[in-house]
Symmetry: C2
């Protein structure tokens, strides 16, 4: 007998209620620090920006190298860091890899910095 | 003749519309990367959490050292990094320094990760 299909609530954050209203545990702090380390680089921020703002919600790696005076392997390294941090995902189709953001992760970060005064205003 | 008082709109972000809807410039990316570097440390994240969630909106440095097995100078260093990143501010009153978050900066970070689908839902 097959198990009933479970609907996973992917919008439910693994952690993080707002920093202003909850206690951040040690393990959560370590995990989040890793995400911010991935974001602590101007090239990676601009890549994330390009992917997040891409038409159709996805960006071809072939377009991501254009604005930077960097080699393809360097761009690939930065994309790998963003991917390992859970911020983006990539799918190979033919010659190229297409990247899109993982919305739950961005929403989680957005919520982390939300302030109660704004939430209840 | 004195200049008319100018009301500064401190809620206006220096940069950052959402990553998903705007183009992040090089200078903005460099500045933001610095903020995320400050956040890329578990101790600093927990300190920011303690300050952001403190009653009355401020936390005495005398309370911030308690949960950590770290020396006061180490905690002070981490607080200095958060302060230099513009995330917190401190005020000396008597023996102790009292810290509070800078709400505009947290709101700006929250907005940076906002997604249009959520904003228009």
């Amino acid at each position: 007998m097959s198990k009933p299909m479970e609907l996973e609530d992917v919008t439910a954050p693994v952690c993080c209620a707002p920093l202003s209203t909850s206690d951040l545990g040690e393990a959560e702090a370590v995990e989040l620090a890793g995400v911010f380390k991935a974001l602590a680089d101007p090239i990676r921020l601009r890549l994330l920006n390009m992917i997040a703002s891409a038409e159709d919600g996805e960006a071809c790696v072939c377009d991501l190298t254009v604005p930077f005076d960097l080699t393809a392997p360097t761009i690939s390294h930065h994309l790998k860091v963003l991917r390992q941090a859970g911020l983006i995902d990539g799918e190979r189709r033919g010659t190229w890899v297409y990247y899109r953001v993982i919305p739950e992760r961005l929403t989680r970060l957005s919520g982390l910095f939300a302030l109660p005064a704004l939430a209840t205003a």
